[in-house]
């Protein structure tokens, strides 16, 4: 469904992504693992249309080329991003954030049903719907960010370190929600530091290092991979 090939990106003279390729199939959950500065956020932003990749890159979604398409049109194509730091509208209410989630043309129809789905996923949001988002906890804001993205009726949901800064118990709830979103048929592309939890809901994964993809495999294979265990799962030796 999503196909990225030969994606390079530089900031000034700094090369952030180097001829990178990856795929996400329909309804598939894919995780990208990599240390800080590996280029994971840059990759998601390039797909979302928030940064412009170097010439030669090819990003296609459902056979449609979206390289260089502005972010608001990428959303219309069916890709939603929950960015690092969430990017919610803090000065607006929960309800307004969700309503804006359905701002895209593709999302206007059936917005009410999707809002019900979001409220069933995050029942706290229903109780807090008139609260201003910047007065909420980090975990609640993450729910708003994910709920808002779901409102746009995405076929692919990309999440950039959704568990960052959340308390362990909240992280557990978050991954339970992600599992339910996956079960609803959406494809997920997740960048995470919380490798164990992410691999437990993922189908496949890529290893990123210094702007390159250095490895890939099924979630099961990655879980038992020695290099992955050393780098991310805190295994001895």
């Amino acid at each position: 469904m999503l196909e990225v090939s030969n994606l390079s990106l530089h900031y000034g003279r700094h090369i952030a992504l180097h001829q990178l390729s990856l795929k996400v199939g329909k309804g598939e959950t894919v995780v990208i693992l990599g240390a800080n500065g590996a280029g994971k956020s840059s990759l998601l932003k390039s797909i979302a249309g928030l940064t412009k990749p170097d010439a030669g890159a090819l990003i296609s979604f459902d056979k449609r080329v979206i390289t260089g398409t502005p972010a608001h049109d990428v959303l219309e194509a069916g890709i939603a991003l929950v960015p690092e730091g969430r990017g919610v509208f803090g000065d607006l209410t929960v309800e307004e954030n969700l309503a804006l989630g359905a701002y895209a043309k593709r999302a206007r129809q059936g917005a009410r049903d999707r809002q019900d789905f979001v409220y069933s996923l995050f029942s706290k949001l229903r109780d807090r719907r008139s609260q201003y988002v910047n007065t909420m906890s980090g975990g609640e804001q993450q729910m708003v960010a994910i709920g808002r993205a779901l409102m746009s009726k995405p076929d692919l949901l990309m999440l950039d370190e959704p568990s960052l800064g959340l308390a362990p118990v909240v992280v557990g709830e978050l991954f339970a929600s992600l599992a339910r979103i996956k079960a609803a048929g959406l494809a997920l592309l997740i960048v995470e530091q919380n490798v164990k939890m992410t691999l437990s809901i993922a189908d496949r994964g890529y290893l990123a290092e210094a702007g390159r993809i250095t490895g890939e495999g099924t979630a099961q294979a990655l879980m038992s991979d020695a290099a992955v265990q050393r780098a991310f799962l805190g295994a001895a030796n």
């Binding site: 972010a71 608001h72 991003l81 509208f89 803090g90 309503a99 804006l100 409102m151």
Partner: protein, 290 residues
């Protein structure tokens, strides 16, 4: 005396609020500091004057011509002049500087045209200049109408921004422009719409002003300054803030002119401005797009 001063103050303040709401849209959402804003106000005042004196078209009907014209003017100015500045701006600060310089030039272009066409004389016309009884005191009917129109525009704008998805999207651009594309909002388009809507409000303000005030081709800068003060007092991008701050400014100015000395009006205006700027730099009501 007290009631009379209060009513005059509210009328004046309503006009300030109306004019300032357009500027707060342009500055708060489109992030353009438009120094030529008052010139659009005055151009609309002359338009209303011409429609009334040459063709007998009432200013209320004139609004239906001036506001769409102001919208169109804002739409074109944004596309031709502002978009290149937005496209090359590194950040908010550099866009602010560029837009101040560019609109400073535009100010003199519009003013020059107005001077050539209408001359430098004080201009006014007599419309609904009859006394009506309000709360035991008399008020010119045109002032009462000016207040009602300001209230209608303010209420309409508030509902548009808070009760429609389109308006909510404009507020989203105001509070978090970087996140707006994530929900499919075309920020450039939203900014252009906000700028054009600001132009419509400037034009509406000009028509309302012309109904009860004397104006000249060079008085635009006064309205830009007062609108700017109201915008900062009310919190940039804050519609209800602009409304409250406009009313406060109008009442204070009128009270100072009535009870102290008319010569102190401007001094009082700027004194309030300085106090707000020093103590509440984000405005009396905060930078919240509500």
């Amino acid at each position: 005396m007290l009631v009379t001063a209060l009513l005059s103050g509210l009328v004046l303040g309503g006009t300030y609020a109306l004019v300032a709401m357009g500027l707060t849209l342009q500055y708060g959402i489109a992030r353009i500091m438009n120094l030529a804003y008052g010139e659009v106000v005055i151009a609309a005042a002359f338009l209303a004057y011409t429609l009334f004196t040459a063709w007998g078209i009432s200013p209320v009907a004139g609004l239906l011509i001036a506001a769409p014209a102001g919208f169109a003017l804002g739409y074109v100015i944004y596309g031709v002049m502002m978009r290149p500045l937005v496209a090359r701006a590194w950040d908010k600060a550099s866009l602010e500087i560029d837009s101040i310089l560019a609109t400073f030039g535009l100010l003199f272009v519009i003013q020059g045209v107005l001077l050539v066409v209408f001359g430098a004389n004080f201009t006014s016309y007599s419309y609904l200049n009859v006394a009506v009884n309000v709360l035991g005191t008399t008020l010119a009917a045109n002032r009462l109408l000016a207040f009602v129109l300001a209230a209608v525009f303010a209420g309409g704008l508030y509902l548009l921004l808070t009760r429609t998805l389109w308006g909510t999207a404009l507020r989203a651009v105001s509070v978090a422009p970087g996140s707006a594309p994530l929900v499919g909002i075309d920020v450039d388009r939203a900014a252009r719409m906000a700028f054009a809507l600001g132009g419509a409000l400037a034009a509406a303000g000009g028509v309302v002003i012309s109904m009860y005030q004397t104006f000249t081709a060079t008085s635009g800068v006064v309205f830009t300054m007062k609108a700017l003060i109201v915008v900062i007092m009310g919190g940039v991008g804050n519609i209800l803030g602009a409304l409250s701050a406009g009313l406060i400014l109008g009442v204070v100015e009128t009270f100072v002119a009535t009870y102290l000395d008319p010569g102190l009006t401007l001094a009082a205006t700027y004194a309030i401005f300085l106090v707000v700027l020093l103590w509440r730099p984000s405005g009396l009501f905060g930078r919240i797009a509500r």
